[in-house]
Amino acid sequence: QLFFSYFKDLVGQEVTVELKNDLAIRGTLHSVDQYLNIKLENTRVVDQDKFPHMLSVRNCFIRGSVVRYVQLPPDGVDVDLLHDAARREARGA
């Protein structure tokens, strides 16, 4: 639930989602759900020549289970706040 809330606050930011099949998609975070499925707008694939499969796709829904990484803007994260929240969650669990 922590990361769900965290992503909700990131809506509107530009992120790059790297998937477990090595595909990397850049776009604006439109929405997220409890499974951490991600909806991106204005998408473009990072290496368009290597992955022309999504050339005509501008908005996409990415299933949470295929995400390997979500790359965030460095100033989009309040590291201390996140660190605190994670510590609290770990203690609670």
Binding site: K20, K50, V57, R58, F61, V66
Partner: protein
Amino acid sequence: MPTKCSMKLLLNYLCNLFRSFNCSMATTTGLESLVDQIISVITNDGRNIVGVLKGFDQATNIILDESHERVFSTKEGVQQHVLGLYIIRGDNIGVIGELDEELDASLDFSKLRAHPLKPVVH
């Protein structure tokens, strides 16, 4: 005194309304907006299937009409295998993309060369 209370209530009401509106925007990633649209699905085994989204559920199982598979290879241009009406199980789905028909029409598939997508490795 009564006006202060009612102001507080009004403020509370407005805050809740705003919060619920905000929440619904950020938290329900429904595929509802994509129903009856042409979508491009990338499955876990690296296949790319294009079709019209007819239905979906919470497990992200989907029903795709008029579907065809686009096979990319490094040797020949893109091949399209017609499939018809398909149900794709949610476990096997990676990405569902909203296909922009204009952009898609402008692509020359016979010239496209690419390695097929890799399967998803957990």
